[in-house]
């Protein structure tokens, strides 16, 4: 081989080795710089950006507002609304307990979340002088919330309803013709659940909403923390466990409206909204709500302001805005839950006013119950029981 050629070959070889080394350094540099870049991004997110513009951050239930009301509020006040939704009280509570949630108006239910948030100091008292429309609130209903909030210092009622049974009556009747349609027996009696199961039974995935109802059904005190009562609840629930197709938090509304489930334990307004959607879709599905005769739990969703809210002025303006009769009427007309502003009634659609599932008669109201705070240890026992119920063993 001529010397020149071998030289060329060697220099090629060296070049390749040199390239390999420089690629390796390049890779290290690449890794180091990308780590640095990611750290920089993380730091940028951790250090909060404080916007000076007028904004209001609202955290409300899913499907729970009249979009026109939000638009009107923004137009009238010039405040930009950031509207965010949750589908279970647990999500709301976890965010507020962690602190610095960033929200200015939240809508917890009176029990257990609203009372617990007051107890831990996560909510700010509402300055009523800044909320002139507070006078529109029904004093009788506000009194019912005092068991959670003595003196009504921390919240105004936004909307209220009951927890009961949503069903597709003709399908349920076909499968279980002799089952009572107005009683918890329809769901909690094994023989009925078994017959309805092929068509789909959905359980609300919420220990705090279901357990008081079962206690009431069993003739016990809905606030009971007695372990033997809880064991009785567990036996009742386990008896129908295998007939439950799905556990849902949110989404039951759609499942009922589409006929994917025939029987669901759910909030009254969600079922009534599902009925309206089913009627609009015209697939021949009718959805009905039943507040069982043994008693249904009354729930009040409260407008409240977190202690660490950054835009408290805007939050007070929003609460005052919402408590106007015409705004409240628009919200009830959209979401089909009753409100606590009697002056809104003339503007509510007559078919909603006539629906006793939305606006119950005084006799019905007498059969409904409200619950009180549950001590932490008992609440944990309930949750663990619920986990066993879901797992099915």
């Amino acid at each position: 081989m001529p010397a020149g050629e071998s030289n060329v070959a060697r220099s090629h070889c060296e070049e390749r080795r040199h390239q390999a080394v420089s690629t390796r350094t390049h890779i290290w540099l690449l890794i180091a710089s990308s780590l640095l870049a990611i750290t920089a991004v993380l730091v940028a997110f951790v250090v909060p950006a404080r916007a000076q513009e007028r904004v209001l951050n609202i955290y409300n239930w899913t499907d729970y507002i009249d979009p026109a009301a939000l638009e009107r509020f923004q137009k009238e006040t010039g405040i930009t609304v950031h509207y965010d939704v949750f589908d279970s009280l647990e999500t709301l509570e976890a965010k507020l307990l962690a602190g610095h949630s960033g929200y200015d108006v939240v809508v917890p239910s009176n029990e257990p979340t609203f009372s617990r948030l007051i107890k831990v100091g996560a909510l700010a008292p509402i300055d009523r002088a800044r909320v002139p429309n507070w006078k529109n609130l029904d004093p009788g209903l506000m009194r019912k919330v005092e068991s959670s909030d003595p003196g009504n210092r921390y919240g105004a009622i936004y909307l209220w309803g009951t927890t009961g049974i949503g069903l597709i009556p003709d399908r349920v009747k076909r499968l279980a013709p002799d089952a009572p349609m107005d009683s918890w027996d329809l769901l909690f009696k094994q023989e009925n659940a078994k017959r309805i199961a092929p068509c789909g039974i959905t359980m609300m995935d919420s220990a705090i909403d279901v357990i008081p109802g079962v206690l009431k059904y069993l003739g016990k005190n809905p606030d009971s923390t007695d372990p033997t009562d809880l064991a009785a609840v567990e036996r009742t629930l386990m008896g129908i466990r295998r007939y439950i197709r799905s556990f849902a938090s949110g989404g039951t509304l759609e499942a009922l409206a589409a006929g994917q489930t025939c029987l669901a334990l759910d909030y009254s307004g969600d079922v009534i909204q599902a009925g309206a959607r089913a009627a609009e879709a015209k697939h021949g599905i009718t959805v009905r709500y039943v507040a069982p005769k043994e008693g249904a739990q009354l729930g009040f969703d409260m407008l409240a302001i977190p202690t660490d809210a950054e835009h408290k002025d805007a939050a007070l303006m929003f609460i005052d805005f919402v408590l106007q009769p015409e705004v409240m009427a628009g919200i009830t007309n959209t979401v089909r839950y009753a409100n606590a502003v009697p002056a809104s009634r003339p503007m509510i659609r007559p078919e909603l006013l006539a629906d006793t599932n939305i606006f119950p008669t005084p006799e019905q109201m007498a059969a409904f119950f409200t619950i009180g705070p549950v001590p932490q240890a008992a609440a944990r026992e309930r949750t663990r029981m619920w986990a066993r119920f879901k797992a099915g063993h």
Partner: protein, 282 residues
């Protein structure tokens, strides 16, 4: 090089060690009615081991953990069975096809994870695409969504690329002359695979197994969205303690237990893998 190493160690300290210490601190605190909902351990060192005692004494947690390991193990096995042939096929395909095929494996990452899982809900639900086709074929529709089958589909679908890529990386570096030599010495194709290809690709297989098993064992989103309520995996238990009970110490104790287990288990696996490898080579 020292600067680079310093950055890597600082990175590990800030994003792995410190968060773990914070979680451990919460696990050793008392739950309390406050914001945040636990009584601080420091100052005064009021250490509470209640949370650890609870997760050790209540069989609910052990069952959830065992179920998680089972689901992760089975998912990893399916990923391996499906992923190895894919990796081999890509590695053996003509060079101009390889990048395209690799691209196809990674393409799903271009869209959001939640969007892909929600797409599966649309495919699997009672009146979804799959059942529509089944009904059109004159068969009775299947219950797919909210079953274990749906959960496994979701996990395998999500983690398959993590199995394919490391095995492919290994197989593509394989010296083709070794395979030729084995064949020249009279080994039939299955023996070439068993004696040469498979042992040489094992490091890639271990990497893939770890990359799939570890996240699958702590998986929360897929069982929650696709699985049934009976699939009470440890990730869902952790969520329940944190969100439904507001019991941060117990949730943190579960996180610590899971972390410890997931550090110990791969270490044991690696050890087994290494000893079998060295035994075979000696």
């Amino acid at each position: 090089m020292i600067a680079v190493l310093a950055i890597v160690w600082a990175w590990l300290l800030v994003l792995l060690v410190l968060p773990t210490l914070i979680v451990l601190k919460i696990a050793l605190s008392y739950p309390a009615d406050s914001v945040p909902p636990y009584a601080p351990m420091l100052p005064g060192l009021h250490v509470s081991t209640d949370a650890f005692a609870l997760i050790l004494s209540d069989p609910l947690y052990a069952q959830a953990l065992l179920l998680s390991l089972k689901v992760a193990g089975l998912s990893t096995a399916i990923c391996l069975l499906a992923g190895y042939p894919m990796a081999l096929a890509i590695a053996r395909s003509p060079e101009r096809w390889r990048n395209l095929l690799l691209m196809l494996v990674m393409l799903p990452f271009w869209t959001g994870f939640l969007m892909r899982i929600n797409a599966w809900i649309g495919l699997l639900q009672d009146d979804g695409w799959i059942n529509t086709i089944i009904v059109m074929l004159g068969l009775s529709p299947l219950r797919l969504l909210y079953t274990d089958v749906a959960m496994y589909i979701g996990i395998v679908y999500t983690y398959l690329p993590f199995m394919v890529l490391p095995i492919y990386a290994r197989l593509s570096q394989l010296d083709g002359r070794l395979l030729e030599a084995a064949a020249d010495l009279g080994a039939p194709p299955w023996q070439v695979f068993g004696a040469v290809t498979l042992p040489l690709s094992l490091p890639g297989v271990w990497a893939g197994v770890l990359l799939v098993f570890i996240p699958a064992a702590g998986e929360f989103v897929i069982p929650e969205l696709l699985g049934g309520p009976q699939a009470q995996l440890i990730g869902r238990m952790l969520w329940q303690e944190f969100f439904q009970n507001g019991d941060w110490p117990t949730a943190s104790a579960i996180a610590c237990a899971l972390l410890a287990l997931l550090l110990l288990l791969p270490a044991a696996l690696l050890r087994v893998g290494r000893t079998t490898l060295s035994r075979r080579s000696s």
